[in-house]
Each structure stands twice: as C-alpha cells, then as structure tokens.
C-alpha cells in the first residue's frame, strides 16, 4: 500500500472527526461579546420620567440587569423569581423596560409586582442594541466596577438562580 494513496483517507478521517465534534455543539448558542467588558454607556430616563440615568447607577454594588416588557409573555413566567430577590440587600435589581409605553409598563408592574430598584425606560432600543439583546427576557450580572460578568438568555428558573446566578453574585460581593 503506497503511502501517498493514504492521503485522501487521512484527510477524510480528520474531517469526520471535526463533523463528529460538531454534532456535540449547538451553533445557535452565541456567548455574549460583552463578558468582562464595561456596561455600555447610555443616557436614558427612568420609567417614572423624573430622572436621567447613566451607567453610574451600577457602581459599587452587584447588579442584576433584567430586560423585560409588558408585551413579553415569558417575562411573567420568570417574574416571581425576580420578586423573590427584591429584598436582597447586596443585590441591586435594575430593569430595562424595552419597546414599551410608560402606561403599559406601569400597569404590568402593578399587576405582577415591581421587584426593581430602578427601571431604565428604553422605548427605542438604544441601550438594547448596545447590549446585543436578541429577545426578552435576558439578564446580565454586573459587578461592582460596572463590568458585565454574565449573560443569561431566557427565563430565570429557580434552578438557574440556585446553580448559576446566586453563586456568581455571591462571589462578586
């Protein structure tokens, strides 16, 4: 068997290996580009409309930044989990009300409860685009220096909190 004839077979086996590996990965999962980077700059009003907010609200405490909207059905599913975090003294809950009207958002918060310490009102997706958000709900964990440490896409379940988010928050204190 001449060695040169083995080259096609060798290359093919390498390819098979790569393809087999590919089966174990999900190409649709995209990690955030912003991990370890500072929270993007923004200048937006809060939901009440009486203050202008910027990233300085994230300084000196660990924050959980949650993107929601009154139109988002899945957000009502995760909301009880967020309500349970409302009174944690070492965690600031920041909400980003996305593509919404003040009236609808307030109604929704009255009906479902308001766990947030502060709510950023982003009707035109300005901050959303900077954050690379692709849907609601999405949640970011921001450390005391204002750097993004983690992004969670989708509903936060009790397991997600217990296994991933709470250990992370505690390690950032």
């Amino acid at each position: 068997m001449k060695l040169r004839g083995l080259i096609p077979l060798g290359l093919f086996i390498l390819l098979l290996g790569a393809l087999a590996f590919g089966l174990t990965r999900d190409p649709r999962i995209l990690p955030s580009e912003l991990i370890e980077k500072p929270f993007p700059a923004f200048a937006l009003e809060n939901l009440e409309g009486d203050a202008l907010l910027n990233p300085s609200i994230l300084n000196n405490q660990v924050s959980l930044v949650n993107v929601f909207g009154s139109w988002c059905v899945a957000c009502t599913v995760e909301h009880p989990q967020l309500m349970a975090l409302r009174d944690k003294p070492d965690l600031q809950l920041v909400g980003i009300d996305w593509r919404d009207t003040r009236e609808a958002a307030n109604r929704w918060l009255v009906r479902n409860g308001n766990p947030y310490d502060v709510i950023i009102f982003d009707p035109n997706s300005k901050l959303i685009v900077e954050l690379g958000v692709t849907g609601a709900p999405e949640t970011f964990i921001v450390d005391k220096a204002g750097k993004i440490r983690y992004k969670h896409v989708g509903i936060i379940t009790a397991d997600d909190w217990d296994e991933t988010l709470r250990p992370l928050v505690e390690s950032l204190q």
Partner: protein, 648 residues
C-alpha cells in the same frame, strides 16, 4: 392502510437491498453468472418497491390523511394541489424517501441500460449501489419513518411553511436530488472498479453519460434554488454563500472536474487516478451535504431538521461509505498509473490544470463553509464566514480557470505548443481589448471591464475552437458530434453567466425608504412611485399589497405588485417581491412594515441582465443533456449470436 402498505414496501426494499449487496458481490468473486444476474433483477425490484412506497406517501398527502403524523405536521386540507404534492418532499422524512427513490432509480438504470457492461463490473456496481441504498433505508426505517401514525387524529394539519408554497421551490429538491443522487452511480462504479483492480476506458465510456445526466440536473437544481431565492426572499441577491448553498455547490465543482476527467479517461486512457478520486469525492460531498443540512451543525437560513440523533446516523453512513471507498483507493491507487505521458501544453495538460483549479476552488469553498466548525473545535470561539471571504478567494481561482478555458480546448492531445495557436490567441486578445476599453469608457468601471473582458475571452475562444474544428464551413459544422456542441454550449453558458454576474454586481442600483402613497424613490433615470396600498385575504393567508409604478422619464414602464403575507395557521410572515423580469433590466420592489399615516418601508432595485445568470446556467445544463446524443458515448453492443444468412 395505505401508509402501512408503504411502510411494508420499505421494509421489503431494505431486505432486497441487503440481498442485492451480498449475492452479486459473491457472484462476481466466484464468476457465477446466475448470482450476478440476481443483482439485475433485485435492482429493478427494489426500485419498484420504493416507488410504491413513495406513491403511498403521496396519496396520504393528497387525501389529507392526518392520521399519518407527517401529513399532520406538514400538510393542510386547504393547501393547493401542487403544494400538497410538493409537501411530500418539503420535510425531512419525505425528502429522504425521495432521495432513496432516486438512488434505487439510478440503480435500476444499470441493468436496463448497461447490457453491454462486463458482468463482473456490473454486478459489483449494483451491489455497492444497493449497499448505500440499504444504509439510507435503514436510516429511514429506524430514525425517519414517514409513515408513523398519530393518535388522536387532528382535525386539520399544521400547514406547510409558506415560504415553501412556491412553484420554484416545489421543483428545486427533485432536480437537486437527481443531481446529488446521480453521482452515486460514479461512486458505485468507482468502488466496483477498485475492487476489480481495473479502471479503464470501457468503465469511463459507460459512466460518462450518467455523469453528464447527474451534472446537468444538479446545475438546474442549483440554478432553480438561486432563482427562487432571488424572487422569493426579496432582498435582491441570488447567492448568499450560505452553508447549505455551498454544500450543493461543492458537488457541482467536483462533478465538473469529474466530467472532464472521465472524458479524458474514456478517449485517452489517462487520468484514471484523478477520475476515481473525483468520483468518490463528488458523491462524498453529496453525502456531506445531506449530513450538514439535516444535522444542524452549521447555522443556516435553510434550517431543515435539527436532530443530533439523525446526525450521528448520517455521519456513520458517510464515514463508512466514503471511508471504505478511500481505503480501497489507498490499497489500489498504485495500480492506476497513467500509461501515456503528455506535456503541459496539450489538451491533457490543460484538463489536468482544469482539475487542479476546480479542486482548489472546491477547497476554498469547503474551508469557508466548515471554518466556523473547525474554529469552534479548536478554541471555542464562534465566528461566521460570509460573502467577503468567498468572493476574495473563490473569484480569482475562477478567473484563472476561465482564462485557461478560453484556449485549452484549442490545444491538441498529448503534445502541442502555445506557439501554434498564436494567431487565434492574438485575435482573442484584440477582441478582448476592444471589449475592455469600450466597457471601461461606457460603464466607468475598471473591474467590470476586466471581468467582461474575461467573459469575452472565453466566448471568443470557444467560437474560434469550434470554427477551427469545422474548418469554418457549414458542412464541417454539421459534421461535429453532439458532444462538441455540448462543449460549445456549456462553455458559452459559463461566459454568459460570468458576464451576467459582472453586470449585475457592478451596474445595479438599489434604494430604500419610507413611502406614503404617492411618494417615490429614484434610481438614476428610473422613478418608483408607490401608487396604492391595499389588503385582503386569499387562500390560506391575509396580505398587504403595494402597487409600485416604474417610470423612466415620461414613459410608464411597468407596475410592480409586492405583498406582505401573513399565514395564520403557521403564524408566519413572508414577503413577495414585485418583479418585472426581462432580458434587459429587471425592476424589483418589495414592501415592508408600515401604516398609511407613517408610510411603508419600500425597497427598490434595478438589476441589469440578471436573468442571464440563470439562463447561462440553463444553457450549461441543456448542453450537458445535448451531449448525451453523441454516439461515441455508446458502448459497442455485445456480440449477438451469428445469424445464418438466408440462402439466396
């Protein structure tokens, strides 16, 4: 009951396929004529069984029998008839059944058309074809059974993806599969020949028409897909270098190289090694394509079924088939030496160069398509490779190829010199220079001029080649065999295609804006005005329609009707672009979201000569079919028993 019968037919076909693998292979080994003949009968029987199964599935869809899970998931009683039929293959299970049907069909063609083949080769090829078919039948029976029942029976089905409810897309898979699956014959024959230890011109002569058939169908299939994307997706493009597009293009590149190699092998008895390797590679690429589309390992707009379990099975099939073939190749490669030497400046040399360039092009497309996967494996980062990479790497290689295509056919076999062709080459250069300068001045684009010059080079070179062959008189032209006309048509098709792509890329215009009724957008001398916006309901969707009139100066050119459709059963929105296709300018508009007060988002395009892209491809395909008429491709009939001459 029909579904169960179809299922049983598939199981029987699987058993037949297994027998069809074992018995003829043994028979060829022992030179047992009866065992080898069994292969012939089995191949036809298998095809009939699978055809019955396919018809059973079709009748389930036509009857809207929603107790069958596949029909419930992908069909609907209100769907128009054509789409009920095309819905059979508009999903994973049905399309794999179509694939297997075609494999069996091509397999049955061997005993039907191959009576002149040496029986050992024929039996082995039939056996290998059956082996692959058996693999796919197992895949269907164990992971993708189209005949699964559903209980309780839903009142109506889920409907077909509205994007698929379109004539172009109804026909795109059958043509594509006729191409993909057609290359299974060269694969089976290559493996059979490797087992025998002999790759010769008889083998090549028999295979060549089948390579032509498969290649031509694949060309049509890809062109249909591109045309469909252009008018259905409405973003003005005809090729996205999307992974699923690429995996259909790669077998085409390899198939083109195979086509040319097998021509050489059939007439000149050289390039055996190339031909065998290309035969294996082309079908392997078809298998890789099937795997990629159905396993979900690459992100693509073409999302089919994303199912790792099916992916594993397909990967196994791919690995065994290709791995087995390549192992055989490794074992027998040293016997495939070229007996007749030739020098570089000869037609043989040009064809080797052709193979090299096509393989290089294939490699760049392959690398770009699988690079995201490789990078993910190496360091976990997620990247995407898009049009810029492919255009930068693929285009120069193709330009080189077109350059050599212009004069390669003019060279003589075995030994020749470029000096002998000095006169035609200089003539070509003169005409090309004129084209380049004229285009640069009128069109104001250097790159466009050079590209058009390249297309002109190919066209003129091809005309000169046929002219010289025919000695520039009509009798000579009529004396040319069909395959020469095939060559002329196909190469002219490439020239037309190149010119059309250039013109479309360089000299097109587009604009987008928010228009209220009465507003307009201008593209150069053309004005697109939103005349009217209406809405309504039709068949199984509601729609918002925009009427856009196009004027050039004072003349009204046409009215484009574009729609945004909402399919309630599937909760899906599609855009139908308003097109005015013509051989010259194509006017294109699509309407998006909006309301009467704020205005509607409208995007307009003016594409010059875009239809020639697909007409060029169509010419290539038709030329391939035309070349089949060539009598030189027929094998000599086996000697019939001598008849006693009637005493006179």
């Amino acid at each position: 009951m029909t579904a169960e019968l179809g299922h049983i037919a598939l199981i029987l076909a699987f058993c037949v396929a297994l027998l069809q693998t074992a018995i003829p292979l043994l028979g060829a080994q022992r030179n047992d004529a009866r065992m080898m003949e069994f292969g012939d009968r089995a191949a036809i029987g298998q095809f009939l069984l699978i055809a019955f199964s396919f018809l059973a599935l079709t009748s389930v869809f036509l009857a809207s029998d929603f107790s069958v899970k596949l029909a419930a998931l992908h069909s609907h009683s209100e769907k128009p008839l054509l789409y009920k039929i095309s819905g059979v293959w508009g999903n994973h299970e049905g399309s794999i059944l179509l694939w297997v049907l075609m494999m069996a069909g091509y397999g049955a063609a061997v005993p039907l058309f191959g009576k002149a083949l040496p029986p050992g080769l024929k039996a082995r090829a039939i056996a290998i074809q059956a082996l692959i078919t058996a693999g796919f039948l197992a895949f269907i029976l164990f992971t993708s059974n189209p005949f699964e029942r559903l209980n309780p029976v839903p009142i109506d089905g889920n409907g077909l993806n509205p994007i698929l409810q379109d004539p172009g897309l109804a026909f795109h898979p059958p043509f594509l599969y006729l191409g993909y699956v057609g290359f299974s014959l060269p694969f089976s024959f290559a493996v059979a020949a490797l087992i025998e230890g002999r790759v010769d011109s008889v083998w090549a002569k028999w295979l060549r028409p089948w390579v032509l058939v498969a290649w031509s169908f694949l060309t049509i299939g890809i062109a249909l897909g591109s045309f469909w994307a252009y008018y259905e997706l409405g973003w003005g493009g005809w090729w996205m270098w999307d992974p699923v597009e690429n995996v259909s293009f790669m077998p085409w590149l390899a198939g083109t190289a195979l086509l040319h190699s097998i021509l050489v092998l059939g007439t000149r008895h050289s390039l055996a090694s190339w031909t065998v390797l290309l035969a294996i590679t082309t079908f392997a690429l078809s298998l890789i394509g099937t795997f990629v589309v159905r396993s979900g390992i690459l992100v693509s707009v073409h999302a089919f079924a994303v199912d790792p379990e099916r992916g594993v099975f397909l990967l196994l099939l791919l690995g065994l088939a290709t791995g087995g073939a390549l192992t055989l190749y490794a074992m027998r490669a040293h016997t495939l030496r070229d007996p007749v030497p030739f020098n570089a400046a000869s037609r043989d040399g040009a064809l080797v160069l052709n193979n090299l360039l096509l393989t290089a092009a294939l490699a760049t497309v392959f690398l770009g398509t699988f690079y995201p996967l490789l990078i993910d494996a190496v360091n976990g980062s997620k990247i995407s490779v898009g049009a810029p990479y492919f255009e930068l790497t693929f285009t120069p290689i193709m330009c080189l190829l077109i350059l050599f295509m212009g004069i390669g056919p003019m060279l003589k076999w075995r030994v020749d010199t470029l000096k002998r062709l000095r006169v035609p080459i200089v003539l070509c250069l003169k005409i090309v220079a004129v084209v380049i300068i004229a285009t640069a001045i009128i069109g104001k684009s250097v790159l466009g001029a050079l590209a058009l010059g390249l297309a002109a080079w190919l066209a003129v070179g091809t005309i000169l080649t046929i002219g010289r062959k025919a000695r520039w008189n009509r009798a000579g032209l009529r004396a040319q065999p069909a395959s020469t006309w095939g060559f002329v048509g196909a190469h002219m098709g490439v020239a037309i295609f190149t010119a059309a792509v250039t013109i479309m890329s360089v000299w097109s215009a587009t604009d987008i804006g928010t228009l209220k009724v009465g507003d307009s957008l201008t593209l150069g001398k053309y004005t697109y005005t939103l005349e009217d916006v209406g809405g309504g309901q039709r068949d199984n969707y509601t729609f918002l329609a925009g009427e856009i009139s196009v004027t050039k100066g004072e003349t009204q050119l046409s009215t484009l009707l574009t729609e945004r459709r909402f399919y309630p059963v599937r909760n899906q929105v599609t855009t139908e672009a308003g097109l005015d296709l013509s051989f010259g300018q194509t006017l294109f508009a699509s309407i998006g979201e909006g309301d009467p007060e704020g205005g509607f988002v409208v995007q307009v395009y003016r594409h010059s000569f875009v239809v020639w892209i697909w007409l060029g491809a169509l010419l290539m395909a038709l030329s391939g079919f035309a070349a089949l008429a060539d009598r030189r491709l027929r094998l000599p009939k086996p000697e019939t028993a001598p008849t006693l001459a009637a005493a006179e």
